[in-house]
Amino acid sequence: MSSPSPSLEELLLDFERQSLARCELMKELDSTPTTLSYLKYGQLLPEPLKPRKIALLTPFTLETIRPFLDVECYLSGWRCDPVFYQYSQWQPALFDLAGDESCDVDAVLLLLDDATLIEGLGETPAKAASALLGMLEAFRNSSQIPLFLGPAPSRPHDGSLPQTVAENGRSLAMVQAANSALVNFTDKAKDTYLINFPETVTELGAGWHDPKAFAANLSYLTHSGLRVLARDIARTVGPLFVPPRKVLVTDLDNTFWGGIVGEDGIEGVLLGPQGKGAPYKKYQQFLCQLRETGTLLAIASKNNLDDARAVFGERADDLSVGWDKFSAVRIDWNDKAENLIQISDELGLGLDAFVFVDDSPVECERVRQALPMVTVIQAGDGVDGLPERIAASRAFDILSVSDDDRERAGRYQTDRQRSEAKNTAGNVNDFLASLDLTLTVDVLDDENRERAHQLMNKTNQFHLTLERPTPVDLFQRAEGNNEIYCVKLRDKFGDYGIIAVLELEPQDKAIDIRNLVISCRALGRHVEDALVAFAGIRARQKGLSSVKTQFVAGPRNQQVPEALGRIGFSQSGEAEGQTQYVLSSGETTTSWPEYLKLD
């Protein structure tokens, strides 16, 4: 007899099943998006997530967003510790935050309203836009804190704004000019992003605006308006702290195409832009977009391999995603959970970075039960609305698309070639020597810091401390005494991009490898050996006599102590959950891997 399904309340407290808890809570709130629901579930949320301090600067009162923010941020996988400012204080607060070097705020949000843009910034549209830009540039030039800007939605006319036609025209021009200035600023300025609140509220019609609320408590948002704003904040700011999933594994029959190829035949499956094939085409186009933003695609399908391959060959013109666009493929009659584990091994990526899409409720349930860390999305009949549901799951929310993201899928393609070369090489050393591996070590700068932040926050396997610093943390440390390096790797097959971040802290007598993070795509190349040798070189250049480091154990970084031992480190102590290591007998010299060149 099967055990009864756990209630949502039980799921929320089950740390192993948070992925499912989030899906179920999302469904519950979609059907009952009331204030009471948000208050109820806000009280049941688990606490283990690190709170992220977000300064909310608004020329109106926003404190009532709190319960919505709590729940929406949980749904996006992070916890918000909002700091509210008095509505009249947003301008001085922006200056104060910019000037405060010891500020521990993780992000600043500035959300504007139309009344402020019309009345508070200048007499003409040009003056209003210029005043706003001046403030933003002053902030950006003196602070590294990520800044999120929300243009002002235009309120439905409620009598509180100027009434004459001429004045209405002027008001509209003021809001448009200031909003445009703000959007243009986010395009150009670093670490500055847009919260597209005016577009979001259109889903509510006029239902986001509450004139009576402004009179009562200086807010102008209804609870529906607060809810969608909280959702936007959670989803837009969240990727600063929560990496997106990296792999989408799709079923084929009745998911990637309509029908069952084993029964309907190659010509019988539904594909193409028109008719019943159209929703499948739309899903494939969505997969294409995901791939272009750095998501790897894979197939897990119960089918005869030859049948499935034949569809990709003979119906290629009807498909938007070709066979070569998949980074891993399992088409057989094996258990899908087992196949997902194999794909995870093959790609070197943890299962918590996986999203699994399948039309079969049985397969979905099997994966949910066996692999609770995987985000499971069941395709509905005819896959109508499937892309929208995958997007709404927030699994692939990203802050911006880096060059590294765009090149990722292609790199995994190159990895397949490397794998083939490895299989034909005599032994591992012959294989590594045949690759012509070259390392480039660059100091952290504006060009590479986005990738450095991404690596430190996404990497689980080779990560010395599992510390997840914000971009601000990184820069503050680099501007201080620490040396932070971004390391690139290339070989005869291509460029791996930036694959490691090394942080060195020179101390009295030793150089401390404060952190070393290596992407899974570069594991097995002995990059760690080379970077410890590099740390030794820096120690000697600075007249320091030893090299030390520390390790914090996590669920998946067990290979780190093994590597430290191989390189020559031995344990020197334990403190505050860290195991300390030092190079044996105060050495600073370790051997440089002979098949790795330094550029």
């Binding site: 009331t34 204030t35 009471l36 208050l39 009179a215 609870h223």
Partner: protein, 87 residues
Amino acid sequence: MTRDEVAEQLRTIFAAVLQLSPEAVGPELSPDTCEAWDSLHHIHLMSAIDETFGITLDIEQQIEILTFNLGVEVVYEELQGADAVGV
């Protein structure tokens, strides 16, 4: 909806918003007797009342709700008014 039915539903709302047990929501519960009933929670209470009963209380009515019992009166009267105009 009878006055008692309104009171029962309101009790559930007050308990949920103010994080009290339903038994702790007495007729004279007010911002003076309940620390959690601050201005922010008053706004959440009003919103939850609007959503649950399908009404829109105006500012005067919202300000009038100074105790649980006054809440019952205001909501009951509003519902009677809505019934009278066939809403």
